[in-house]
């Protein structure tokens, strides 16, 4: 999926929407759960605090009263060892931070420790004797101080000061607060963990759903976008395998048709371009050749015209006659060249409608025409009996065969047993017609050059060098091909051509 593409945008929007919905639901649920938990915690705290305020002081007062009675005998008898034992007992069940037993003079008798460092210290602060029930409670930060009278039967032996780090109910409340705080922390941690997991799962599911949905929605567009890009880049064969109903399907099919049409037009254009290039090249060669070959007789005419003038001035009529003969021969050659050129230009377009032509008959007719031109000749011409009927312009095809036979006869003439064979062979699916001679043969490097205009491998041989070019032009005008085959000099030559089947 391309970043920033329509698929990504779909995915982001769908994921964001799903995530927002589920997240809002989760946050709302978490808020309600948190609020309820806080309410429960507050209610527990309030209930315990209420119980504490009503019970704690009473519990401390009773404890003080008990201690006042318990310590009396030991203090009365100054039994410090017993007092220390009693203090140790109290410390085992109350959170005592200090415990002082004071004698009637107001000095510390014992602090309950073996070192008894407070021994003899005067005790500041109020005595509890004047307080109701002989005791006094006071808060000092987190500590509670209890001052109580140690008395019995109206006799006061002394008094005690117990400092508690926290009252029993405070300890209970603190433990309860710790417990509820721990429960709350655990509850909150569990909820947060659950919420985090739920959010992660939601995000994952939202992304997955979004990707699937966006793929479903955006895939046709993405594919068409990619196909259009490929077509624009020239890849008209890029497949667009989209089977979608509705407008997207219509668009895809139209895009496919457009690509097909473009492909056809491009191929036609490429063929025409190639054809034009070929013709251009041929035209260039033609222009050059024509200008060169036509110039040659003109030079002859001009040269001998000058000589004729000189000879005429000198009165040498015999030489003047020879000069004029040369001028006439050059004019004839120029005439033939122009005739051949005219013929070649005509061959470029088939003017006669094609017809079924028995090629065997046409070959024999060509052979007869050539034999007539050659006069009595030793060249034997064989025509294969199984030549088919072809669909062609009869006149042009006869002209081509005639040129091929003439060409073969020229080169076979010098051989010991000159022979020309007109036949056909099967090359794969293609039917190839040929005119073979056993003449001097052609070097491989000249096999293609022989088809060029005015090209003559042997300048001594009669002709303008237009014949083979004419043959190729006629064959190609019929949609076929023409070429030469030879195993080299001394091995004869075979000129082949193909034609569409009739």
């Amino acid at each position: 999926m391309r970043l920033g593409g329509i698929g990504t945008r779909y995915a982001v929007w769908i994921a964001a929407l799903a995530f927002a919905l589920v997240s809002t639901t989760l946050v709302a649920a978490a808020f309600l759960a948190f609020r309820e938990s806080r309410l429960v915690q507050s209610e527990i705290h309030a209930a315990v605090a209420a119980a504490r305020t009503s019970d704690e002081e009473e519990a401390l007062r009773k404890t003080a009263t008990y201690l006042g009675a318990t310590l009396f005998n030991a203090l009365y008898h100054l039994d410090v060892e017993r007092l220390n034992e009693e203090i140790a007992q109290v410390q085992s069940w109350l959170p005592v931070s200090s415990f002082l037993v004071i004698d009637r003079s107001g000095h510390v008798l014992t602090d309950g420790t073996p070192a008894n460092e407070r021994f003899g210290d005067p005790v500041p602060g109020p005595r509890p004797d004047d307080e109701p029930r002989g005791l006094r409670l006071s808060r000092m930060g987190e500590e509670t101080e209890i001052r109580f009278t140690i008395a019995s039967g109206g006799v006061t032996a002394g008094w005690g000061i117990v400092t508690l780090r926290e009252g029993p109910w405070q300890a209970s409340l603190r433990r309860l607060e710790w417990r509820t705080a721990a429960m709350w922390a655990g509850h909150r941690s569990s909820l947060l963990s659950l919420g985090a997991v739920a959010l992660a799962v939601t995000l994952g599911l939202a992304l997955l759903t979004a990707v699937l949905l966006s793929r479903s929605l955006a895939r046709p567009l993405t594919e068409m976008s990619r196909a259009a890009g490929e077509i624009a880049a020239g890849n008209l064969n890029h497949p667009l395998t989209l089977d979608s109903p509705g407008e997207l399907g219509d668009l895809a099919r139209a895009l496919t048709r457009m690509a097909g049409d473009l492909r056809v037009h491009e191929e036609a254009l490429r063929a025409e371009r190639a054809d034009l290039a070929g013709k251009n090249a041929e035209l260039e060669r033609f222009t050059y050749t024509v200008s060169h070959d036509l110039k040659s007789p003109l030079v002859t005419v001009r040269g001998f015209a000058g000589l004729a003038g000189t000879d005429l001035a000198s009165g040498d009529l015999a030489r003047v006659r020879q000069d004029l003969g040369r001028i006439v021969a050059a004019a004839d050659k120029m005439h033939r060249l122009l005739d051949d050129l005219l013929e070649l230009s005509r061959v470029g377009r088939v003017v006669n409608p094609p017809e079924d032509v028995p090629l065997g008959d046409l070959a024999r007719e060509a052979a007869e025409l050539v034999k007539g031109q050659l006069g009595p000749s030793q060249v034997a011409i064989d025509v294969a009996p199984d030549l088919p009927v072809v669909r062609a312009d009869r006149r042009r095809l006869l002209e081509a065969l005639q040129n091929l036979v003439e060409n073969a006869a020229k080169f076979a003439a010098g051989s010991q047993d000159p022979r020309i064979t007109i036949g056909a062979r099967q090359d794969g699916d293609e039917r190839v017609f040929f005119v073979r001679d056993n003449g001097r043969g052609i070097e491989p490097r000249f096999l293609e050059k022989v088809f060029d205009l005015f090209e003559k491998l042997d300048p001594a041989v009669e002709g303008t060098g237009v014949g083979l070019a004419l043959v190729r032009r006629i064959v190609e005008a019929h949609g076929g091909r023409a070429w030469a085959e030879s195993d080299g000099l001394g091995h004869g030559a075979t000129f082949c051509f193909t034609l569409p089947q009739a």
Partner: protein, 304 residues
């Protein structure tokens, strides 16, 4: 029924004396018992916690030598322990010198054999102290005044101070004794060493006496308000004594077990829990001479 009562008693006594031998004849060793006096008569469990481990260690050491260690016997007081010695319920006791001499006197059946070393002390002495600002400098200065002691069965905080006063020619009597004269010293019992010190400071007595270890253990602020003005001669810290009728072989095996008890960590820990004992040592001839010298002084007279 024609047998006279005296003859019947003799027969019963003979049968009782023969009983241990009869049990021994069956092959099962007769268990021996260690006897101690409870510091708090109503709290025998304290002594069980203190001496239980020592008894267990002794049982381990005596079993291989065919001596069965029985349970600890906790007596309420000296009289109770004395009677148990007479009955043969107790075979050996650990006590300080004064209770040992009293038991010896009363049971006529106790033989000190080992010195019990406590808190590393083989011997200790008692100190007489008074308030720092008090005028007393000698024992004689206490005539007509009150001495704060700990308890009747205490050696260092009762018997030894009383004997020291007697050597100085001073009679010490209970504070409520109607026969006390003007020059006699009266005593009160505070029950604990710290109480003795506090009582002196609070004016319930004029001077106190206990051993030098207790003096060192007093709270610093308490001790700083007191001063020592007299010390006694040293006396062995404690004694382990055997019942006179105990078989020599058994007594020897118990002595060997006790002398080796501090040889391992478990034994030392057990001794430490038993009233801070450190080890046992054999009683030397010099120790015996010293004890014989103390005996007439420490033994209380029947009337006091």
């Amino acid at each position: 029924m024609s047998r006279p009562p005296a003859a019947l008693a003799a027969v019963v006594s003979a049968a009782l004396l023969a009983a241990p031998g009869l049990f021994a004849a069956t092959g099962a060793p007769v268990p021996v018992h260690l006897g101690v006096i409870a510091e708090e008569p109503n709290e025998p469990d304290r002594m069980l916690k203190a001496y239980g481990e020592t008894v267990a260690r002794l049982r381990e050491r005596l079993a291989p030598v065919d001596v069965a260690m029985g349970d600890l016997v906790i007596a309420r007081d000296l009289d109770d322990l004395s009677q148990r010695l007479v009955r043969g319920d107790v075979d050996f006791v650990i006590e300080t010198v004064f209770p040992t001499l009293v038991l010896q006197e009363r049971s006529r059946s106790l033989d000190p054999a080992l010195v019990a070393v406590r808190r590393g002390q083989r011997a200790y002495r008692s100190v007489f102290f008074t308030r720092r600002d008090a005028p007393y400098r000698t024992l004689a200065d206490l005539r007509g005044h009150t001495l704060v002691l700990q308890a009747l069965r205490s050696t260092s905080a009762f018997a030894l101070p009383k004997a020291e006063m007697a050597r100085a020619g001073i009679t010490v009597l209970p504070s409520d004794d109607p026969h006390a004269g003007r020059d006699d010293v009266r005593y009160v019992l505070a029950g604990a060493e710290i109480n003795q010190a506090i009582w002196v400071l609070q004016g319930k007595g004029d001077a106190g006496a206990f051993n030098e270890g207790d003096w060192a253990a007093l709270p610093r602020k308490v001790r700083s308000q007191l001063r020592v003005f007299h010390e006694t001669r040293p006396i062995v810290r404690g004694l382990l004594s055997f019942r006179a009728g105990l078989a020599v072989r058994v007594r020897t095996k118990i002595e060997e077990a006790l002398l080796g008890l501090d040889g391992d960590e478990a034994g030392r820990a057990a001794l430490a829990r038993a009233s801070a004992l450190t080890r046992f040592e054999r009683l030397t001839a010099a120790d015996r001479r010293e004890l014989r010298g103390w005996a007439p002084i420490l033994r209380p007279s029947p009337s006091r």
